[in-house]
C-alpha cells in the first residue's frame, strides 16, 4: 500500500481565521467562548455560550460561488483555500482528476435550513424560496461548494457522522490514497454555530448551562466542575497526499498518516461507550503497526460532558496507562463538531512540529473519575513521534487517526 502524508493545513476557529491565530491562542491560554445573549429568546435553551469564528473577507469569494454558500461553506472554503496555498498545489494538479475533496459536517447549513422553514411554514409558500436554499442546506453543502469553487474534478464526497465527520473524511481520504484511487485529497469539515445544534445537546443535558455569565470558564474537559459542551464555529482542512507524489514535487511534509480506524459501538444512541473507544484506538494502532509505547500524545475528543470524558479516560487508561500526555482543545475553541477532528488534528500536527503539547484549558481540578491518565495541565516541551486524534459521535460512532513524524 502507498504511504500518505499531510502537506497542507487550513483552519478557521473562534480564535481567528488561520492556523497561526489558533496556535497563538493555544499558547496564550485564550478562550474563544463568549456569551450568546440573543439566544435567550429560545424557550428551553439554557446553554447560552458559544465560540464564534470571525467571518472575514468573504466577499473575496466571487458572488457566483458565494451565492450557494451559507456561513458553514464560507468557513470551509476559506480553510480549504488556506490548505491549498499552504501545500502549494499547482493549478493543473488542483483541477486534475487525481485530486479530490471530502468534507464533512453534522447536518449541513443549519441557518439556511432555518431560513427556508421560516419562509415555507407560515403560509405553506414555496414560491418565495431562493434557488440557493437547497445548495446552502444540504448535507454535502461544504464539499460541493469547496469543490465547485476550486474546480475539483476528482472524488467529491461528504461524510456526515456528527462530531466524527471530519475525522471520517480524513480516514476515508487516507484509505483512497493508500489504495491508489487518488493522489491528493482535501479532507476535513466545517460547522456553523447555531441554536438548533446547541439546543440539541442542551435537550439531552449535554451542553454547558452554568457559565452563561462567565463564558471563559467553560467548557471544562475532565474537570470535576464540568457541566457539558459548548458549540463553536469552525473549519479544518488537511491536504492528504501520496508520499512519493509529495516528495517529487518538493512539498513540505508535516507528518505521515500512520493508521486509522472507525467503528460503531452498537450499544447506545447518545451515551459514550468505553469498549467501543478501546476497540477503535486499538484498531488504529494495529493499522499503524504501532504499539502504545510509540505514542507521545493523545488529542482527546473530551468535550466536557460528564459521561463522555470519563469513558474516554477509562479507554485511554486501559490501552496507554498513565504515561501518555492527554489534552483536549475544546476549552479554547468550543466543540466545533463536524470540524473538530480536522481542526484539532491540524493543531496537533503543529504541536508535533514545534515539540510542544498545550494543556486542557479550564482544567482546574481533575475529576477523580478521569484521573487514570496523564493530563496536560500546563504546556510541556516534548518530542512527539506519533499522536492519536480521537473523535466520538452520537450514534455510537468512533474514529481514531494516528499521525507520526515522517521517517524515510
Amino acid at each position: 500500500m502507498k504511504r500518505v502524508v499531510i502537506t497542507g493545513r487550513g483552519v478557521v476557529t473562534g480564535l481567528g481565521n488561520n492556523l497561526n491565530s489558533l496556535m497563538d491562542g493555544l499558547a496564550a491560554g485564550k478562550s474563544a467562548v463568549q456569551s450568546m445573549p440573543d439566544w435567550i429568546k429560545y424557550k428551553g435553551l439554557n446553554s447560552r455560550v458559544g465560540a464564534v469564528a470571525p467571518l472575514l473577507n468573504e466577499n473575496e469569494i466571487p458572488r457566483k460561488n458565494r451565492r450557494s454558500m451559507g456561513r458553514i461553506s464560507i468557513l470551509g472554503t476559506q480553510a480549504a483555500q488556506q490548505a491549498v496555498l499552504d501545500a502549494k498545489i499547482p493549478p493543473e494538479l488542483l483541477t486534475s482528476s487525481r485530486l479530490g475533496c471530502i468534507m464533512g459536517s453534522t447536518m449541513g447549513g443549519t441557518e439556511a435550513m432555518n431560513e427556508a422553514f421560516e419562509i415555507m411554514i407560515p403560509n405553506c409558500d414555496l414560491a418565495s424560496l431562493s434557488a440557493m436554499s437547497f445548495f446552502k442546506c444540504v448535507s454535502h453543502t461544504v464539499s460541493m461548494n469547496v469543490a465547485q469553487y476550486l474546480g475539483i474534478k476528482g472524488y467529491v464526497m461528504a461524510t456526515s457522522a456528527a462530531c466524527a465527520s471530519s475525522l471520517q473524511a480524513l480516514g476515508l481520504g487516507f484509505e483512497l490514497i493508500r489504495s491508489g484511487r487518488q493522489e491528493v485529497i482535501l479532507c476535513g469539515g466545517a460547522e456553523e454555530l447555531h441554536p438548533i445544534v446547541a439546543g440539541t445537546f442542551d435537550i439531552l443535558f449535554a451542553a454547558s448551562t452554568h457559565y452563561n455569565d462567565e463564558p471563559k470558564l467553560t467548557p471544562k474537559p475532565f474537570d470535576q466542575e464540568r457541566d457539558g459542551l459548548v458549540c463553536g464555529d469552525g473549519a479544518g482542512v488537511l491536504i492528504l497526499e501520496e508520499f512519493e507524489h509529495a516528495r517529487k514535487r518538493g512539498a513540505k511534509i508535516y507528518g505521515e498518516v500512520a493508521g486509522y480506524a472507525t467503528c460503531g459501538s452498537g450499544m447506545d444512541m447518545s451515551q459514550s461507550n468505553c469498549e467501543g473507544m478501546i476497540s477503535c484506538m486499538r484498531s488504529a494502532l494495529k493499522d499503524a503497526s504501532l504499539q502504545p509505547l510509540d505514542i507521545d500524545y493523545i488529542s482527546a475528543h473530551a468535550t466536557a460532558t460528564l459521561q463522555g470524558d470519563q469513558a474516554e479516560c477509562e479507554a485511554i487508561e486501559q490501552i496507554f496507562g498513565n504515561r501518555v500526555p492527554v489534552s483536549s482543545l475544546k476549552g479554547y475553541i468550543g466543540h466545533t463538531l463536524g470540524a473538530s477532528g480536522a481542526v484539532e488534528l491540524a493543531a496537533s500536527l503543529e504541536m508535533m512540529e514545534q515539540g510542544v503539547i498545550y494543556p486542557t484549558l479550564n482544567l482546574k481540578t481533575v475529576d477523580p473519575k478521569c484521573n487514570g491518565v496523564m493530563h496536560v495541565r500546563k504546556a510541556i516541551k516534548k518530542e512527539i513521534r506519533a499522536f492519536v486524534k480521537n473523535s466520538f459521535a452520537f450514534g455510537g460512532i468512533n474514529a481514531s487517526l494516528i499521525c507520526k513524524q515522517l521517517k524515510d
Binding site: R63, K64, R67, A127, A131, M132
Partner: protein, 88 residues
C-alpha cells in the same frame, strides 16, 4: 407608484441581490450578457422582484420574453397598468 419609483426599486434588486454597481444598470443592459446573471440567478431575480414590488410574476408567461433591464421596467409598468402593483 411612479415609473421612476419602479425603476429605482428594480435597480435596488440588482444592486442588493446581485451586487451590480449602479452605473451598469442601464435599460439596454442585457440581463445575461451584460449584467452576468445566469439561469439560477433568474429564479432569485423573480423571488426578489416579487418581494420588493409585491407582485406575483413567477407563473406569468411574459417573464420568458424578458432580455434587458428595460424589459423588466416595462413588464412591471404593464403589471401596474393592469392593477397588480398596488402600493404607491
Amino acid at each position: 407608484m411612479t415609473e421612476e419609483q419602479i425603476k429605482k426599486m428594480v435597480n435596488e434588486v440588482f444592486e442588493e441581490s446581485f451586487e451590480i454597481a449602479p452605473e451598469r444598470l442601464k435599460p439596454e443592459a442585457k440581463i445575461f450578457d451584460d449584467l452576468g446573471l445566469d439561469s439560477l440567478d433568474i429564479v432569485d431575480l423573480v423571488v426578489a422582484l416579487q418581494k420588493k414590488l409585491k407582485v406575483q410574476i413567477r407563473e406569468d408567461e411574459r417573464v420568458r420574453q424578458i432580455r434587458t433591464l428595460g424589459d423588466i421596467y416595462n413588464f412591471i409598468l404593464a403589471l401596474k397598468s393592469e392593477g397588480y402593483v398596488s402600493r404607491g
